[in-house]
């Protein structure tokens, strides 16, 4: 009897443990997937900033000479060898006798040359050619670079100050059908030719400073010093140099534009585009959202219209984001933009100005998308302001406006701020509506530049999320996706997280503040 009872007890006990473990594990799976995502994106993204090592891979095909290759890799020599081995095994399969042998060795003497347009060359340093003399010493490179820089500056000066204005004059003359033989025209042409000659000379001088590298294929590569972005021996970096390298790389990542088919360079245009869109959006959505929330919480009577407004807000929060994109394209771009075009830019039609997807429409679309976020958050902030404070203010003779303005709003302002931060986080991570209303994978120019009227809201822009989406959509496996994409992922994740955490902290501090009241 007692044995039976203890068996039943044991069964019950085990049942409870099982349930507890099951619910715990489902919780753990979610936490682990969160951590895994972070580690994966972080680990892959950080790689972009680490210096790579140079390796020499010599492959011996049976019955032919060795083929030497220089490789750049984040991995150690053994791991690189293993991955090459794997590739060869897949390629050759059972065909064992044709399988090539290979040796991977660290090549410490090799230089890595990164050009301005994002290409990277690995090779042995041969010589440095300056004008007519050959300088073998690399330590001269910095001197030559300063020299080239001054040359480039003077070239730029000539182009900006002389050639540009002359070109404009000549263009004006020829447009007015002035005969080419008139003295004015002739003088201008002569002058233009003279300066053009100077410019060509300087350009030739710049091109005369060259560096020579010997590539793995015994080929000699000559690159103008002016094209060099960086030249260093990756395997001989000290740890301080490595850290400096990493910081420099972070700097390029944040300030450069993507190069070589979005494999190197940086994501500055995407960051800039995201930022500008988010700012315009916040400027639009904040007053609307905050004042609408004030209406709902402070003024709205309890009737059917108010409940309809509330239903609108909760439904707007649930509408799939791509539907906002559809609305933005139909209403803003084709509707509003189309009418603006036909009213103000009819001379440029049929090529659209505002009637095409662009920054302004994207910002407005995201503004509507994030409107419920701001409203809900602001209302939450207003709700936390104790009722008796309002009553006190009103009892002292303040009007309702004064109560809200002087008492309620200052206390609820963290709520509004939370709303804006959450809206920004949402807009920074949202992609689906943006690909419909103006975000593109590559925009030739920034929305702000020196050209009048300086801010081009009708332009298409780059967005971090869209950049990532495009990178994944066109390269489907991990090995093909460049580490730049992972680095961008990491950046986006970081931005969204910092924004969310600051919103949480703000909200918690708000709660604590009013618990005391």
């Amino acid at each position: 009897m007692s044995l039976k009872k203890s068996w039943a007890e044991y069964q019950e006990h085990f049942k409870q443990s099982l349930v507890e473990v099951l619910v715990m594990l489902s919780c753990a799976i979610m936490l682990v997937s969160l951590a895994a995502m972070f580690l994966f994106v972080g680990g892959q993204g950080v790689r972009y900033f680490l210096p790579m090592s140079t390796y020499q891979v010599s492959t011996y095909n049976p019955g032919s000479d060795a083929i030497i290759e220089y490789r750049l890799s984040h991995q150690s020599a053994q791991k690189l060898a293993a991955s090459i081995e794997q590739k060869i095994n897949i390629q050759y399969g059972d065909n064992a006798q044709d399988k090539p042998q290979f040796i991977v060795s660290e090549a410490n003497h090799l230089y890595l040359l990164e050009t301005r347009n994002g290409k990277a060359y690995v090779g042995e340093f041969v010589k440095l050619l300056s004008d007519e003399s050959i300088l073998l010493d690399l330590s001269e490179l910095t001197n030559i670079q300063t020299l080239v820089q001054t040359l480039e500056q003077s070239l730029k000066d000539i182009q900006n100050e002389k050639l540009q204005s002359l070109h404009r004059d000549i263009d004006g003359l020829s447009r007015r059908n002035v005969d080419k033989n008139t003295p004015v025209f002739k003088r201008k042409l002569d002058e233009f030719e003279r300066w053009q000659g100077y410019a060509n000379d300087i350009n030739a001088q710049i091109q005369n400073h060259r560096i020579y590298l010997e590539l793995a294929s015994d080929e000699q590569l000559s690159i103008a010093v002016s094209d060099i972005q960086a030249l260093y021996q990756p395997n001989q970096l000290t740890w301080i140099e490595s850290i400096v390298f990493m910081f420099k790389k972070v700097g390029t990542f944040l300030s450069d534009s993507p190069k070589q088919g979005a494999t190197t360079g940086g994501v500055f245009p995407a960051i800039f585009g995201t930022l500008l869109m988010v700012i315009i959006m916040a400027v639009v959505v904040t007053p609307f959202g905050a004042i609408a929330a004030i209406y709902l919480h402070e003024y709205a009577p309890k009737n059917r219209v108010t409940s309809m407004i509330r239903i609108s807000v909760s439904n707007m929060a649930a509408v799939p984001s791509v539907v906002y994109g559809v609305f933005g394209l139909g209403f803003f771009v084709y509707g509003l933009g189309g009418s603006i075009d036909s009213l103000l830019y009819s001379d440029r039609l049929p090529s659209p100005t505002f009637g095409a997807p662009g920054l302004l429409w994207a910002s407005l679309t995201m503004g509507i998308l994030t409107l419920p976020v701001v409203i809900v958050s602001t209302e939450e902030g207003l709700r936390r302001v104790p009722k008796n404070l309002r009553a006190g203010a009103l009892a002292l003779g303040a009007t309702k406006y004064e109560t809200i303005r002087r008492v309620v709003l200052p206390m609820a302002s963290p709520g509004i701020l939370t709303g804006i931060i959450l809206a920004i986080a949402r807009a920074a991570g949202e992609v689906a509506p943006l690909i419909l209303v103006g975000a593109v994978k590559f925009a030739p120019s920034l929305p702000i530049d020196s050209e009048f009227p300086f801010m081009h809201l009708e332009r298409q822009f780059m967005h971090l999320g869209v950049f990532i989406y495009d990178g994944a959509f066109h390269n489907q496996t991990e090995s093909q996706v460049s580490s730049l994409m992972f680095a961008s992922c990491m950046l986006l994740l970081l931005i969204v997280f910092l924004l969310n955490i600051s919103a949480i902290i703000l909200r918690n501090s708000l709660r604590k503040k009013y618990e005391r009241l």
Binding site: V313, A318, S321, F327, F331, T399, A428, Q476, L492, L493
Partner: protein
Amino acid sequence: MSKDKRRYRLDYFFSRFVTGFGFFVLATFATLIVHILLNAAPLFQSPTVSFTGSQSFETKMPEKNSSVMSVVSKFNGKWYVIDTQQCQVKVNGLFHESKGLTPIKEFAPNCSRELLSYASANEIMMLRDNNLLEVFSLDTDSNPSLRLDSSFKMSNFASQSIPALWEINKRQSSIFIFMPNGDESAYVWHDIKSLKPPSLFKVNADEKVLPLMPIAHLLVWHSSNANLLPAGKPATQTIEYEANIDQMYASPSGLDAYAILDNQSLVKHTVINQDGQFALRQVFEVPLGLEDTKTVKLKTDLSNNLLILLNEQGQLRLLNAITGDIELSIQVASDVVDFNYENGDIIIQYESRFSQHSLEDIQGVINLDMLFSKNDYSAYPAPAYVWQTSASSEFQTPKFSLVPLIIGSLKASILALIVALPLALGAAIYTAYFAKPSVRSAIKPSIEMLEAIPSVIIGFIAAVWLAPFAEQYLISIFAVLVLLPIVVICIAAIHGYLQSRFIHTRLATWQLPINALLMLLAVVFIFLLSLLITDWSNIGESSTIVQSVSNLTLSKTAIVVSLALGVAIAPTIYTLIDDALYEVPDGVKQASFALGATPIQTLTKVVLVVAFPSIISAIMLGFGRAFGETMIVLMVTGNTPIADWDLLSGLRTLTSNLAIELQEAQVDSTLYHVLFLTAAVLFVFTFCVNTVAAMLKRRVYKDE
């Protein structure tokens, strides 16, 4: 006093101002709905022919003799009349109603025999008296010009016969000419590129020939029979019609053949591939309700799924080319000579004038039935659900069946729910019921962080890592899944033991990490073990089960999508369920415990029951979120619109379809309106889900 007045006025204005903003929200929401619905609305209208914008061109027609033909064509949005007469090609424009025909250009190529002919749009064929056949194409830019395309010698051309019908297919570089003659008709089927002289095939005098150019077959028809055959070869199929054939037409794609029987009904056949041989399958037969007069012409508009038919009495019929429904039947002036149709514009030619009409609301041809039920598309062996809008050439019919997209959306979101629900429910039960408040306050924000991860990043990880990973280590993943229950039972035993021993120590706070670590270790162990085993032995090749598993291709399938989507929506469901469970009053739980119920009994019989409506509402909201999620499905699936529920096939959802196709859709095209309809479907769906979820939640509050 005046200061107070100002204050009160300010107060009043502020209240008006704020109210305005409140109503602005309502207005925004209303604009959103109305705009989307308005853009979907044209699909529900039936097409009409507008006569208001119609123009009538009174012209004196050029004198005609038997060999002269004229054709009306539309280039760059304007109508032109091309007359070919006596070795001359005259291009006239129909620009102004008052002016009639405006001469544009005349061409007079060298020729001495009055034998000229025209082709459908802008090709002109000319037979020289030395039996040289030349094909010109007419460029009608700002300055029209005639360009020689090809020429070849027709050595055995019957010199008396005049071509009645000819067609040229540039892609297959073949030309077809039909020449009816008194006792014996003949046709030519010729490869332009070949150097051999064109071959002439004879048919009976009462037979007529219709070319199906793209499949290099012909339809030879007389009385009530039509034979399908390759040029010069015996018939491969004979179609018996129920009545006499008056006229047969082929669609520009050459994949459909239309026969008009007794001027009363229209029969459509479509070409299918039957065991490697082309055959015709009947699609529909519709009565046209026309008077018994000669049919002038049948024109097909493939890009709008439209058939336009006009008889000499001026009875015009617009038919849906797929279902055969008559969309519109109207009467225009009688004694019609000819008509032409080009992208929504109809021009009708009478004895001495032209009249032009435009077709409004062509999108209305696509009705709800076509969007939601199986359609009998041309060249398909059976009616099917197809979404295929990339009508790259004008010869392709866009196919707008929303069923594959809806199935894709439902498939992805239901699977995602199956993945997410156990996770979310389990985690919520843990944090809201079992865990200590301190543990809950640590875990809940973390899971909410998971909710904040942009879906593009989850999609990115799933696309570049999860899909290839699942593909590569399929067997190991399978092994982990099979052995997982055993692992869970073992961990439960360890957990039970530890808890009975250390329940009052600090170890109790670390239950979750300990269990998680145990499971992680077990999973990694099983994973590596299965890898080693498959590496060492040749299990992968011998065992049929393992082989069939490893033959599966997981990448870009519904399963991978469901995992990624499940992870994305689980935090949403978790947060809502956690709140619901946490809100269950403590008193209820205490009462249950006081009655001697175990924690498990309290959970299943009390807490879950009380929170049930909220849990259902949470699940619905999660489902709504999965249904509306765009980026993950866009990046992880192959975006193939397939209408089946197979877990191992790709899918395309309503949302990702919008992201892919809306940018390329022309404003006010049928596709544009159909896409807005899908947006409306999404909108209405989430609206319903949201409303029902809100009602369920409100019920709980009422009960309390």
